[in-house]
C-alpha cells in the first residue's frame, strides 16, 4: 500500500462538506417534522377508523416500507412532474419524498404507542369527566409520546443517514460534497475518511443528545 494520506485538499474544500452536513441536517429535520404530522394524524385516524380507512393507511405503510428509498426519490423527482404539471427543486422534491417515507414508518411507531397506553389511564380520564377529544389530547397523546420517544430518536438518526440518497438527484448535502471532492481532487481515501467521521460524530452526538432528552422526560414526569 503505497498510499500516503494528504488532507490538504480536503481542508481547502471543507466548505463543501460542512455546508453539506448542515443541509443534511436541515433535510432530516424538515422531513421528520412533516413525517411526525403525517404519522400522528394517520395513527390517530387509524385507531378510530373503520375497515376501509385502515386498509388504505396500511397499504400506504406497507408500500413505502417495501420499496427502496432511492426508487421513491427518482419517482418523485423524475416521475411525478411528467404526470402532474408541477415544478419543484431537487431539495424540495427530496424533502417531500423523505417526509412521506418517514411518515409511513412513524404511523407504525405512533399506532403501537397509542395501543400501549394503559387502559386504566383512559378509564381514569373518563372517570374525571374528560371528553373523548380531551382524553386524546391530555391523556393518550402525552403518554404515547413518552413511550415512542426512543423510536422517534432512532427514526430521526436513520433519516439523517438516509439524506445521503439526496446526492443522486444532485442535492448538495454531505455525500454529494464528498463525491464532488472525490471527483475533483482524487483524494479519495481522505475525503471518505473525513465524511465517514462527520456522519459518525454527528449521528452519535445526536443519539447521545436525544437519549438525554428521553431521560429528562422520563424523570420529569
Amino acid at each position: 500500500m503505497g498510499y500516503t494520506l494528504n488532507f490538504n485538499l480536503i481542508w481547502r474544500h471543507f466548505d463543501k462538506l460542512w455546508g453539506g452536513l448542515l443541509l443534511s441536517l436541515e433535510l432530516a429535520v424538515i422531513s421528520i417534522a412533516i413525517g411526525i404530522v403525517i404519522g400522528l394524524v394517520l395513527a390517530v385516524w387509524y385507531v378510530s377508523a373503520g375497515r376501509v380507512v385502515r386498509a388504505i393507511i396500511a397499504a400506504y405503510v406497507e408500500f413505502i416500507r417495501n420499496v427502496p428509498l432511492i426508487l421513491l426519490v427518482y419517482l418523485v423527482f423524475y416521475g411525478v412532474p411528467t404526470v402532474i404539471d408541477l415544478a419543484y427543486s431537487a431539495p424540495t422534491s427530496f424533502v417531500l419524498t423523505l417526509s412521506v417515507y418517514s411518515g409511513a414508518y412513524l404511523v407504525e411507531v405512533f399506532r403501537s404507542g397509542l395501543e400501549a397506553v394503559p387502559r386504566g389511564q383512559l378509564d381514569a380520564g373518563k372517570a374525571i369527566g374528560l371528553t373523548p377529544w380531551q382524553r386524546l389530547i391530555h391523556v393518550r397523546l402525552p403518554t404515547m409520546l413518552r413511550i415512542t420517544l426512543p423510536a422517534l430518536s432512532n427514526t430521526f438518526i436513520s433519516l439523517f443517514k438516509d439524506t445521503s440518497i439526496a446526492s443522486v438527484i444532485s442535492v448538495p448535502e454531505l455525500t454529494y460534497g464528498a463525491q464532488w471532492i472525490n471527483f475533483n481532487t482524487f483524494r479519495i481515501v481522505e475525503v471518505y475518511l473525513v465524511t465517514t467521521a462527520m456522519y459518525l460524530v454527528t449521528g452519535y452526538t445526536l443519539l447521545f443528545a436525544l437519549r438525554l432528552v428521553e431521560r429528562r422526560f422520563r424523570t420529569a414526569r
Binding site: 417495501n66 427502496p68 432511492i70 443517514k161 481515501v189 471518505y192 456522519y199 459518525l200 452519535y204
Partner: protein, 216 residues
C-alpha cells in the same frame, strides 16, 4: 406506451435477476460473517468483543451509500482492485453483517439466565450448553428479525445501480432513458420490489407465529 414497456420486459427481467443475485450473495455472506462475529461479541475474549463492537457501531453509523462509495473508490486507491459488482457486494455485506451481529447478540441475550444455569446443573460443558440449550432457543428468536431484515438487503441492493451495475433499478432507469415513460416504469419497478419484499415479510410473520410457543 404499453407496447414499449412490454418490449422492455426481458431487459427488466435481467436486471431483476441481478437484483436477486446481489441480494442473495449479501444475505448469505452476511449471515455467515454476522453469526461468527455475533457469537464472538457475546462469548469472545475482551479484545475480540471490542473489535466487533467498534466494527458494528461504526458500520451502522454511516450511510450505506457512503460505505459503498468508500469501498468502490477507496479500495483501488490503496491497491485493491475489485470489479464494481464485487465492491458493491462487499459494501452491502459489511453493512448487513453489522445488522446480523446485533440480531445474534439480541437473540442470545434474550435467553434467560436460568437456562444456562439449568444446563450447568445437569453437568453440560460450555460447548454443550451452547449447542444444546442456548443456540436452539436463540435461533428461533433470531429468525424472524433476520428474515424481516432480508428486505433491507433487497432494498439496499438498489444502490448498486449507482456503480453502473445493471440491476432492476438501473434497468428501469435505462428503459426510461430510451422511452421517456418515467412514471409507469417507476411504478412498475416499485411494484416488483414491493411484491418481493412483501412476500418476504409475510414469510417472516408466518415464522414468528410458528415459533410463538417459545414465548411462554
Amino acid at each position: 406506451m404499453l407496447s414499449q414497456i412490454l418490449y422492455a420486459l426481458p431487459f427488466l427481467a435481467e436486471g431483476f435477476a441481478v437484483t436477486l443475485w446481489v441480494s442473495l450473495l449479501v444475505v448469505v455472506l452476511s449471515l455467515v460473517a454476522g453469526v461468527l462475529l455475533g457469537v464472538g461479541l457475546v462469548y469472545g475474549p475482551a479484545p475480540l468483543r471490542w473489535v466487533v463492537r467498534i466494527f458494528s457501531d461504526t458500520i451502522r453509523g454511516i450511510p450505506i451509500l457512503v460505505l459503498m462509495f468508500f469501498v468502490y473508490y477507496g479500495l483501488p486507491a490503496v491497491g485493491v482492485h475489485l470489479q464494481s459488482f464485487w465492491a458493491a457486494v462487499l459494501a452491502l455485506t459489511l453493512f448487513k453483517t453489522a445488522q446480523v451481529v446485533e440480531y445474534v447478540r439480541g437473540a442470545v441475550a434474550s435467553i434467560p439466565k436460568g437456562q444456562s444455569e439449568a444446563a450447568m446443573a445437569i453437568g453440560l460443558t460450555f460447548r454443550q450448553r451452547l449447542t444444546s440449550v442456548i443456540f436452539p432457543q436463540a435461533f428461533r428468536r433470531f429468525l424472524p428479525p433476520w428474515i424481516n431484515g432480508v428486505t433491507d438487503a433487497v432494498k439496499g441492493s438498489a444502490l448498486v445501480s449507482l456503480l453502473g451495475i445493471t440491476d432492476l433499478m438501473q434497468a428501469i432507469n435505462q428503459v426510461i432513458g430510451r422511452t421517456y415513460e418515467a412514471m409507469p416504469l417507476y411504478i412498475l419497478g416499485a411494484l416488483i420490489y414491493f411484491a418481493v419484499n412483501y412476500a418476504l415479510s409475510y414469510a417472516s410473520r408466518r415464522l414468528e407465529q410458528r415459533f410463538a410457543f417459545i414465548r411462554d
